[in-house]
């Protein structure tokens, strides 16, 4: 490429990108807005500037890192952007402005709006921090921060239900992080460096005869980070956190927070312990077993659930474990599959959640059985929902098929019995996905309406529909022409990016 076109950004910009939304959120509290419209413009501007900045950083990626705070010895908070971080930060930067736009419409009639936006904007910066982290310690720092900034969002409605959910969220997440911390300590002692290195930081010289202990620690740390990624049995916070307003459930509990968990596990597996150390050990089988179980468990619960948002939350639990299944295959191909599903599931699920939110916003209906015959009245919303259902099931031509393909391909190449079982779990889960998503679609389009107020329902305005349109386009483009993004992931997995 033409070197003039690409201006390499200074590493300091990483810090700027993180601080901009955090400070922007805090300043929001100090600014007296006379009109709601002005606040919207202010917030959207902050978010868009941050996203543009992130994309500029991605294009002109600084090779160097930037140390922010130095503690003792080699411990420091420092930022650096590598291939894996690019994927996560690019994803977040694309989704956040759209989610913000949607939130303006959705939150119109809610109370404490400013506090909501304060934390909603701050979370953006914190999530970027996770993706920019150069080492385990920095990631851990932002990871804890993420829990703290998102807790108030769950709490938002201040109902008893919300308080319980927020408390559970807090305990689960902090508890999980504590386990992850154990892993961090062991990595510092036995690793050659604390910085993330593709292939791992453990060498036979440093580990000595402590292999089994380290494997145990890996499993513990995996489970610790796995709390945010909602692996079974640490998943119950996620459906409960669905009491939060939809922009939170959609963006945070389907993408940012839960994917941060998955992202942390990718870091832990590929960049800290290293696949060379882990592959073929009992630890791999243990975590893979847990993940495979979660895939099926999440789907089964989703089939049983009648609350739309909780159903989608269970679906998220299952799909997050798709990603983790890719991770636990512990080959570059597995990482490609995991990254594919990380991105594609984000697009699909945020779309499905936004549809569910639009329905709740327009009709106040929250349960599946209340939706009979609504397809005529909200054609755009349910059209988008249908497409995202098909994508989630993995109908070819949409992006879900592609990520499932690469996951299964990696598993079959891996060739162990456990991996074949995993492929089976993926397919069972796909069938269950068809059941819990398409029953909604059929209800909506093919069952006669019996709601008297049906005539008053209509599609929401452009602020809600625009994000849906963007997501639909993304699902189609990734589904029909996945080659560019997949080759990007391949480069990342091979370490050449």
């Amino acid at each position: 490429m033409n070197p003039v076109m690409i201006m390499t950004m200074s590493p300091a910009m990483l810090l700027v990108a993180i601080l901009l939304p955090i400070l922007g959120g805090i300043i929001l509290m100090a600014l007296p807005f006379r009109k709601r419209r002005h606040m919207e413009i202010y917030l959207e501007t902050i978010v868009i500037i941050t996203s543009v900045l992130v994309w500029l950083i991605l294009i002109g990626r600084p090779a160097e890192g930037v140390p922010v705070v130095k503690f003792v010895n080699n411990l420091s908070l420092s930022l650096r952007l590598d291939g894996c971080g690019m994927v996560f930060s690019g994803l977040v930067a694309t989704l956040w402005p759209l989610a913000m736009l949607y939130a303006f419409e959705y939150m119109e009639h809610e109370r404490h709006e400013k506090i909501f936006y304060l934390f909603y904007t701050m979370t953006y910066g914190v999530t970027l921090g996770i993706s920019f982290a150069e080492d385990m310690l920095t990631m851990y720092f932002f990871y804890e921060l993420l829990t703290l900034t998102t807790m108030p969002l769950v709490l938002h409605t201040l109902t008893r239900e919300a308080i319980l959910a927020a408390r559970k969220y807090l305990y689960y997440s902090l508890g999980g992080a504590a386990f992850a911390f154990i892993g961090l300590v062991f990595l510092m002692v036995y690793g050659t460096t604390v910085d993330f290195t593709l292939g791992g930081v453990l060498t036979p010289e440093t580990t000595g005869d402590k292999t089994n202990v380290l494997l145990l620690i890996y499993v513990i740390a995996f489970l610790g980070f796995g709390v945010k990624a909602a692996i079974c049995p640490f998943n119950s916070w996620l459906p409960q956190a669905g009491v939060a307003p939809t922009p939170v459930t959609a963006l945070l509990h389907a993408v940012a927070v839960v994917k941060a968990g998955a992202f942390a596990i990718i870091r832990l597996t590929y960049y800290a312990f290293g696949t060379k150390f882990l592959a073929g050990t009992w630890a791999q089988n243990v975590v893979m077993g847990i993940v495979i179980f979660t895939i099926v468990y999440g789907c089964s619960r989703a089939v049983k659930e009648t609350h739309i948002k909780r159903r989608l939350a269970y679906s998220t639990i299952s799909n997050l474990s798709y990603i983790l299944f890719g991770v636990t295959i512990m080959t570059p191909a597995g990482l490609v599959g995991a990254l594919c599903h990380l991105v594609f599931h984000a697009v699909i699920k945020i779309c499905a959640f936004f549809c569910a939110g639009a329905v709740i916003h327009q009709t106040k209906k929250e349960y599946v059985y209340e939706l009979d015959g609504m397809g005529k009245k909200l054609p755009c919303v349910f059209g988008a929902f249908t497409v995202s259902s098909l994508a989630l099931m993995g109908v070819p031509g949409l992006c879900g098929f592609v990520s499932k393909w690469y996951l299964a391909d990696a598993a079959v190449s891996g060739g162990s019995v456990m991996m074949y079982v995993g492929v089976g779990a993926l397919l069972v889960s796909a069938l269950l996905t068809a059941i819990y998503m398409l029953t909604i679609v059929i209800r909506v389009f093919f069952v006669e309406a019996h709601d008297k107020k049906m005539d008053t329902y209509r599609d929401p305005n452009w602020q809600m529909l625009l994000p849906l349109a963007v997501f639909l386009a993304a699902m189609l483009v990734f589904g029909l022409h996945p080659a560019p993004i997949v080759s990007l992931f391949r480069d990342i997995a091979a370490g050449s990016l």
């Binding site: 098909l390 070819p396 796909a430 022409h481």
Partner: protein, 492 residues
């Protein structure tokens, strides 16, 4: 480029026309929809014919995954299936003009009817397994609205059952697909198989398992035991023209899938003598008998025909798994004949139900006096399905039995023909009484209430046309049989 356009047109034209119809506003005069649909059906039929005659080279469109293109390659097998689809789809479409007249949601019905026609054409022309899979899933999804058209609770539940069985099958097939991909590196349909021998050795076990899952997956659509449960539920609740094409053609999508897997992906030699062959021969024979038996016991007219489909399609599958030229020839003949016969029977049943409202077999006493033309066609098709010469079913069953003897598989070589014949007997048992009581109502019948209830030309002509094919197909089969034998010879 010319080929690409020729091959895309029969897919894209009906699909786009259908989408347009779905998106359009409800017109004030209902007649507009039928004229439009009729025109598109005829135009597509012509395009299919043109494509069959003129395109012989594979056409690649774009890459769905790296190294896996979406490509169309109309070979002989695909062309045979494409012609069969057109032969039935268009008459059934015309039948529905009269059948659905005055009904609700006609626009939606015709919209999906056209789209599925396009999808089926694509399915038949698909040049590799992934392309086939793509259109197979689309076929399932888009034919679902035809099943639950009536929107009664029963219909919706049947639609769901159809959908979930089908997806269960599709995902089983997908498992096989993943494994095959790893051991062949290409999905392009090649006569006698595409497996890479260097990758196969040492992995026969997992490959046979993959073959089993692929075949089991596609067998769901073909209604083979143990995955037949959806068929007798879903086919009867659909409107008659939809039942006709579902039973006559959509099930053949599953058959084509199995043909593609056996003869174009794994190759008959890989499967011959394996446990997979034994398993599927057994399942097919069980289904043949079970379907006939259930049909014999069933009182609902359409449901009886649906069970009959379960049984008859497994005749075809039995022929495939013999892995012998005569068996394959018989299967392909039966694909063609069964498509015409079963659609005709369903259309007859539809005409009867529409004109008299009678749905149960026992109510049909004297129906032959009221609707003679329809019931004559029903009678002809019954004879053809039983396999009484010179009607068409005889020829296909003959080849199937010859194939069973030729294949020389222990037990199956004599048990197969026996089961086929017992099932033929049962077929006579569940079809002929309808005909007999229809024409010879007995002394208790009150001729005073009898009046002519024959429907309009749209209800009669398609039925007569299909019945004529079912009859004549058995008499002038020389060319067809020769062609299909050659085709079978190339694959085995």
């Amino acid at each position: 480029m010319r080929e690409a356009v020729t091959i895309l047109l029969p897919v894209v034209l009906p699909a786009l026309a259908g989408i347009l119809l779905l998106a359009a506003k409800e017109p004030e005069r209902k007649g507009v929809i039928t004229w439009y649909t009729g025109a598109v059906l005829v135009a597509t039929a012509v395009l299919v014919a043109v494509c069959v005659v003129s395109v012989n080279v594979p056409v690649t469109f774009f890459y769905l995954l790296d190294q896996v293109p979406v490509c169309f390659a109309p070979d002989h097998m695909g062309k045979v299936f494409a012609l069969v689809v057109t032969l039935v789809w268009v008459p059934a479409g015309f039948f529905s003009f009269s059948y659905l007249k005055g009904g609700k949601k006609q626009k939606r019905f015709y919209g999906f009817y056209l789209i599925v026609y396009g999808i089926l054409n694509a399915l038949n022309f698909a040049g590799n397994l992934v392309t086939f899979y793509v259109f197979y899933e689309l076929m399932t999804l888009l034919s679902m609205p035809l099943v639950l058209h009536e929107q009664t609770r029963e219909a919706v539940m049947a639609g769901l059952k159809y959908l979930f069985y089908s997806f269960c099958g599709a995902y089983m097939a997908l498992f096989g697909l993943y494994v095959v991909w790893h051991h062949s590196g290409t999905f392009v349909f090649t006569e006698r198989g595409t497996l890479d021998p260097s990758l196969v050795s040492g992995n026969e076990g997992i490959l046979l398992l993959a073959a089993c899952f692929l075949l089991l997956g596609f067998s769901v659509k073909a209604g083979m035991f143990p995955m037949h449960g959806w068929l007798p539920v879903a086919h009867p609740v659909a409107p008659a023209p939809a039942s006709a094409v579902l039973s006559g053609l959509i099930v053949k999508g599953g058959v084509l899938g199995m043909i593609r897997v056996i003869f174009y992906t794994f190759g008959a030699d890989f499967l011959r003598g394996s446990w997979v062959q034994t398993l599927f021969l057994t399942l097919a024979l069980i289904t043949v008998f079970m379907g006939s038996m259930l049909a014999y016991l069933e009182k609902g007219l359409k449901k009886r025909l649906a069970y009959s489909t379960v049984s008859q399609v497994s005749y075809i599958l039995f022929g495939l798994f013999l892995l012998a030229p005569a068996g394959l020839t018989g299967s392909l003949l039966h694909v063609i004949f069964h498509a015409c016969i079963k659609s005709c029977l369903f259309l007859c049943a539809g005409a009867v139900i529409r004109q008299t409202g009678k749905q149960c077999v026992d109510e049909l006493t004297g129906i032959g006096k009221e609707m003679p033309v329809t019931m004559w066609c029903f009678a002809i098709c019954s004879l053809a399905l039983i396999g009484i010469p010179p009607a068409s079913g005889f020829i296909s069953k003959w080849y199937l039995c010859v194939g069973a003897f030729d294949a020389g598989i222990p037990v199956v070589s004599w048990l197969g023909p026996v089961v086929l014949l017992v099932s033929a007997l049962l077929t006579a048992g569940y079809l002929l009484p309808i005909v007999i009581r229809g024409f010879f109502p007995g002394q208790d019948y009150d001729y005073a209430v009898c009046k002519r209830r024959e429907g309009s030309a749209f209800l009669v002509v398609p039925v007569v046309l299909l019945a004529a094919i079912a009859l004549v197909g058995g008499m002038v089969t020389g060319g067809l049989t020769g062609y299909l034998s050659d085709l079978a010879g190339q694959l085995l």
